[in-house]
């Protein structure tokens, strides 16, 4: 039932027509269309499979006039400012089943109040395309700095990891000491709206260690929209043997670094979990680094703590199982801590902790030697996908 519209003088309406007065009449369109005064109070319904426009001109409508616009066709229907101005807080490009209300403030200005559900966008650029994205999705990845070009504004799913941190150093000239495992880079998993423009994607480098330094991981970022912080480095044992002040505690980061004999506590995880702790003053073990999924394991006696397990990206990327953002293992005199996952650095009973693999966002392993070097953290990685 559709109520006759507009009413005319002398018209007689039935009860059913009066009850249906809230059901606005439809004015179907199959091609580009310019709004006319007779469209006020109607639903303009575009049905084209091709891209179309609905043009708004000045001098036709009065303040308060309202027109509903719906696109049920497969082609994008774009509300286009002809000689009038059209403002909106969303998009004037209506995907299929998108729509909203066009309200005139004056004869020359209107505002479109969108009621369409958020739709996925599309993009190009970066290192390459996801090889086997989940059914219904397309996506890109970046293993180094790049530019993301959003070709269609909309929402995107993003998964990104900051650079992993190094394991700690062990530089005593007096005592052999164990150093902690490096923390993972932080993980950010988010769905965001991106406008149709370019975005700088920066991949965070992994932290570096020498026999006298440790290194936090660096951040991975999507323009000014999202940031995954770098991991926190593991505990570094004394440098010259002259005192505790020359040791460095486990660092704060995405995942925290593993603690050691003097500074027992693990580092704090900001976008992940804390590093493990060292329970006493023994120099013979250090804890594992925190990951994006779990705390690093504590160290005990002569056994280093394992790093926290990483996050499996397979569900997001559609690729085979692969873990990112794992913690590095702590160094120890007898049994070093294991890497949290494949690709992270294992702790060592020798002079060099294991390094994490590139683009894992995982931490490096700690060492046990004098002097000794923590393994390097793995650089970060960036994934983005959308429904295609």
């Amino acid at each position: 039932m559709t109520t006759p519209f507009p009413f005319v003088s002398g018209a007689v309406l039935t009860a059913a027509q009066l009850n249906a007065i809230t059901t606005l009449p439809i004015s179907a369109k199959t091609a580009n269309y310019t709004l006319a005064v007779g469209d006020v109070g109607y639903r303009i319904q575009m049905t084209s499979a091709s891209s179309t426009t609905i043009t708004v001109n000045t001098g036709i409508f009065a303040a308060g006039d309202t027109i509903w616009i719906q696109n049920i066709g497969a082609g994008t229907c774009t509300i286009t400012a002809g000689t009038a101005t059209v403002g909106t807080a969303s998009s004037l490009a209506l995907a299929q089943y998108g729509g909203g209300t066009l309200v005139f403030q004056s004869a020359s200005a209107a505002t479109f109040f969108s009621q369409q559900a958020a739709t996925y966008g599309a993009a190009t650029g970066l290192t390459g395309a996801l090889a086997t994205p989940p059914t219904g999705y397309s996506g890109l990845y970046a293993t180094s700095d790049g530019t993301l070009t959003v070709t269609r504004a909309g929402i995107f799913d993003v998964l990104m990891f900051g650079g992993g941190a190094s394991g700690g150093y062990t530089s005593s000239v007096v005592n052999i000491g164990a150093s902690g495992g490096g923390g993972a880079g932080g993980m950010v998993s988010a769905t965001v709206y991106l406008a149709a423009t370019t975005y700088a994607v920066t991949i965070g480098a992994g932290g570096a260690s020498t026999t006298a330094s440790l290194g936090n991981g660096l951040k991975t970022s999507l323009g000014s929209v999202l940031v995954a912080v770098g991991g926190g480095a593991g505990y570094g044992d004394q440098f010259t043997g002259l005192g505790a002040a020359e040791r460095l505690p486990a660092q704060t980061g995405g995942g925290g670094g593993g603690g050691g004999r003097v500074y027992n506590a693990g580092g704090v995880g900001m976008q992940g979990f804390n590093g493990g702790s060292q329970s006493g003053v023994t120099a013979t073990s250090a804890a594992g680094g925190g990951s994006v999924s779990a705390v690093g394991a504590n160290a005990s006696a002569t056994t280093g703590g394992a790093g926290g397990v990483g996050f499996d990206i397979a569900t997001f990327t559609g690729n085979a199982s692969a873990f990112k953002g794992a913690g590095g293992g702590g160094g120890a005199s007898v049994t070093a801590g294991a890497a949290g996952s494949v690709g992270a650095g294992a702790g060592s009973t020798g002079a060099t902790g294991g390094s994490a693999s590139a683009n894992t966002g995982s931490g490096g392993g700690g060492a046990y030697a004098s002097p000794g070097t923590g393994g390097s953290g793995g650089s970060g990685v960036f994934y983005i996908r959308w429904k295609s």
Binding site: T127, A208, A212, A245, E246, S379
Partner: protein, 79 residues
């Protein structure tokens, strides 16, 4: 997948202030993103130190070395 490179940004004292994971070609194409002096560093290459922030670049050896670590003043060790 891992054909990228690593470059370290130096300040006027040859101290590393940033490390980028980037191809040389991309740096050349986007100079506005890589202002200042950058030198290549190598990840896990024998006989080369992978650069970290705070390390110092030696122009003779073309390698990086670490400064003496600076303790965190507010930290009190457990023992």
């Amino acid at each position: 997948m891992n054909n990228h490179q690593y470059f370290a940004q130096l300040n006027d004292d040859n101290v590393v202030i940033d490390v980028a994971v980037v191809t040389y070609e991309f740096m050349q194409e986007n100079p506005e993103r890589y202002l200042g002096q950058w030198v290549e560093t190598f990840f896990n290459l024998p006989n080369k130190t992978y650069a970290g922030i705070g390390m110092i670049y030696d122009e003779i050896t073309k390698d990086f070395y670490a400064p003496i670590p600076t303790p965190i003043p507010d930290e009190t060790p457990n023992s």
